[in-house]
Point group: D2
Chain length 350, copies 4
């Protein structure tokens, strides 16, 4: 593709944290022209009015969904609340490529969708076209997809290390525990008392223990990787008093007669040539600060004192690799741009 | 004991975070008269000079250890760095009762001490007298102890739920995983770059994966509770960008033919009459904010989706129930005061 | 008054941050029996359900205002939103003493009330009875008041140093600038996007520049202290990414022929015998951390390089000395208890 | 200059916060090739070892100052502690252009330097060459300078609004008060107890009241702008519990017969065509979050209730516009690149 070409894009649902972050990243992408930003409650206002940090960025005003001329677009990014996008995506022209950042098209089995999301899928036919957008794992199908369903933030942090280990058969499908900790931006930009500064500051808490919806996409992907249709995982999401970042601590058992070093090798080889996913050297335990503001996933794996067990630490920025950055990575794959175009940020430290 | 009696106490090592917190709590204890506060680098200064928040509290000045007249005292609290107190405690008059908040006397087996702390124990004979000061579990021996070794912060949060479950035989000794998250005050009041605000703020990280020294006291206590001399646990400590509080997420397997509800009952009964340890109702996942500033431990236990597994959440204030508060609770036991004397704080919320 | 007497109190509006803090402090007051806690949206629930940190405190359930039997009470604390309490307070039995923590009765001139609060005062006759509850300044009238209107948080921090300096004539009424910084709990416990953790964390901002309502009570009190009916001040409120605490930096000019040391002496003498207000020694600039969790106000005054000018720094806990603590201090004055009863906390540090 | 040319640069003192941030920004500059990174205590190590977030960035290792081949370089950025660079800069080849981020060459009058920094200037001859690197104000002399002394962080935030207002004669030189609040990264990356997370978290404090060294460069620049050799300002620096950002609240008096709107116009016209400095519309009070991570300075000016007075709010990122970003802006000016090359970041929000 011509390096100078600018594709016409819309961000549907641009006033949540995922949408805003996507807009920021798209502004730095050389092959993108932002045509529409929609926002229900914010429509009609200049973006700079709602988000003063966009002052001077030359963005179009926030508009209603109804004002979008889909024919004009090359691609639409959907950042709507879960459940709100299925019917809309079913109705857009079939020539439009769609990157959905919600959970609406992540589960291939619509019965499973109903089970976890509590209502029937509104666009089961469109679901069939969807590719799960975990970029490093499903790179080839993503390239040709019309509709990419970007993974959730927690699943991204857990699947990147677990998929190669399970595919290779080096770890057991039994007893995998994913203990995840997230910054509060994952809870979104709505005015809930529980997410007030005074409530979150100085405290740490778990929530949705053993029943968080992200379990469904984690298991779907791990079942495919392992070939074990019934494998289950334990997943505990927790809130850290920080704005961004996810760290997942993952406890696994080695398969019989596998040595710890083999696990390290699997990850090393799998991610040696990736731009964004990196296995750390030695015993460095990565911090979320090493990836915040970037599309990176840093991983390390540690030998447990207890025989045949290992501990994995994986960190991402929940809004970037866990949402908007991975969406752009998928966009680059779909349209033939270099995979890291617009995604070469380095963390803002300290 | 006469309610109005004031015992003469010294705080040895009063200028670290544990020492300072102990002083604050002792100031509110009706049966205590603070005679000495020692601090190596701060000796000779008024406490208010180093810690302006003690302004107006009428405390004695910070002094050198050498200035302490041990004969004058009823009890001494030691808050020295690990390893610094063994010889001093061995040398004080045998009539003096000692409450040690360091790791110096926590491990009954001095070989194990050497293995985990990297040097021989300097007072192996005194070690024989020491009682492990986990108040709710070792209440009776603590009452008569001359030397109480207060538990570490992480162990306190993990042992309170695990000991009754293992003692009752309801959970398996195999595969226990303790994933703990702590505020940064646990790292102490020394000027390390890694603990600067700019380094800790906005980040989450693990450290000492599979080799933290607290493993030794956790395993020592769980081995005693279960009667399994070789049982091992997985323990991962992690740093949260907050000042105080520990939350431990603990993954356990049920013993064969045990139902989940039996675990709940064990904890319910064990802690029904305790002042500080509480099993939460229903599915409330306790937050560290519910215990910070108090001597409480809030616990809840959750059924896992995966058969025969459960998840426990336990929260404490690392500097209070995990250090200074438990030390005072032990002091109350040793001297016959009501166990919650000086420890009836309610969390400062929000 | 008999030390053991327990007065019957109600907290009207117990589920905001000010109400919750008041309940915590009242629980530690030996002469108080809490009879009612009301909360509009929370009525009917156990307090522990809404505020788990009150677990085990033995509080009455949250109830509707209509359920309060006023006749049964000795005193009622009102923590309602501004404007919501005037009519209710006008309707309670005249034998009931009332401590109002809202702005409803702070302005003696009801025209001024209308000007700043945008609507007519609903109980102008009751207003006449109200005493402005800045405890150290209006101690005598507070003792006999039926209705005490507790000051706002910002005004408390500014007035305590300024009133004695103006009364003494040592500083000019002209050009006083109060630059105040507050933790976000001052904004209350309602789910506003601007107060979300992700919005407040890592940022500092000013608001209501030159038009914040607290200007009205600051000027009312300074006009009385100086005898200058028209004196005006500049006041800038700002939000700090922390939960509690206010620091006010106050810029003043010395009156002609006054030396800096005279200002220091005025403050020194004025507050020498106060329990809560303290002038710091030397050049120590007090931090909010030295007062958070307490009813204290720490003040220091600094000579400016520029002739005849001085800089004052004043710190309080906005929810305690700036609200609930001062309310209890006033309660103690009104009912003849020692002024610091229930208010002897030391800051939780670190 | 050829757009593709890459100049050879060294960062002297690359392991403090200013140095690290400079390296991050230089990595994104298309016309820069980083040849050396020096760091005293870190020399000999790969950068990624000390700063894991630079993993994969292809940087040279940290080296000793002595290893730098100055002849090879086009430009050197000095990020050494104050006082450490004067002799070194005096000794480098005169063909090398130098951008100094310390205070070493900011004061043109070496007597004033001695007075504020407590020791004689070590390179008074080199001082004569130095240009004060406040980019928007001294753009022309910067272009041709061999040595640019970049302003301090606080001065940058204060001078950008004040210089045009004073130059235009619209505000009085008398009684200017600059009340500044900074994130803790301004205190640098050394292990001081006062800067620990547990000390800074949840607190706000002032320091160096009326005697901070930045006063000297603020007054030097304002004296030049106003033509009043003796004008003085009041300046109060304060620490906010956040990592980055400065907000200065500035109190000014209007000159006789000047109307408020004239001040607004002066700023509007002065900064209408600047890339980085922006006057906000209407009554929007800018937050530090709107500029953090960027080279921006957002300013707004507010009419005071008190006649003939105004209040200015100015925000920058202390490490970017207040240090490394402005250094690169000056580099762009000195070498003829577009002024915003490498500096087009948008804030990471939330």
């Amino acid at each position: 593709m011509n390096d100078k070409k600018r594709l016409k894009v819309a961000v549907i649902g641009a006033s949540g944290y995922v949408g805003v972050e996507l807009v920021r990243l798209l502004l730095g992408h050389p092959n993108v022209q932002i045509k529409y930003l929609t926002g229900d409650s914010t429509a009609g206002q200049p973006v700079e009015k709602v988000f003063p940090h966009f002052n001077g960025c030359g963005l179009p005003p926030l508009s209603y969904l109804q004002e979008v001329d889909w024919e004009e677009l090359d691609v639409a990014f959907f950042c709507l609340p879960h459940g709100a996008g299925q019917e809309i995506i079913a109705s857009v022209p079939r020539t439009l490529r769609v990157i959905d950042l919600s959970a609406d098209f992540r589960l291939f089995n619509v019965d499973r969708y109903k089970e976890w999301y509590g209502k029937p899928h509104a666009a089961p036919d469109v679901q069939k076209e969807a590719v799960y957008g975990l970029s490093e794992i499903f790179r080839e199908p993503i390239k040709n997809a019309r509709l990419v369903a970007c993974p959730g933030c927690y699943p991204t942090s857990a699947l990147l290390p677990l998929v190669p280990l399970l595919s290779s058969g080096k770890i057991s499908t039994d007893g995998i525990i994913i203990d995840s900790k997230s910054g509060i931006s994952g809870a979104g930009r709505s005015g809930k008392v529980a997410n007030l500064f005074a409530e979150v500051d100085g405290g740490f808490r778990a929530y949705s223990i053993a029943n968080h919806r992200h379990i469904s996409e984690i298991e779907q992907t791990l079942q495919a990787a392992s070939g074990m249709a019934n494998m289950q995982v334990t997943f505990t999401p927790q809130v850290v008093p920080m704005t961004r970042g996810i760290l997942s601590t993952i406890y696994v058992k080695l398969s019989p007669e596998v040595e710890f070093e083999e696990l390290r090798e699997v990850l090393e080889q799998r991610y040696a040539n990736e731009s964004f996913v990196k296995l750390m050297d030695g015993d460095h335990a990565p911090s979320t600060k090493e990836v915040v503001g970037t599309n990176r996933c840093f991983i390390n794996i540690f030998k447990n004192r207890i025989r045949h067990r290992a501990i994995i630490v994986s960190v991402i920025d929940n809004l970037i690799k866990g949402a908007s950055g991975q969406a752009i990575q998928n966009f680059n794959l779909m349209f033939g741009f270099r995979e890291d175009t617009g995604l070469r940020q380095i963390p803002v430290y300290p």
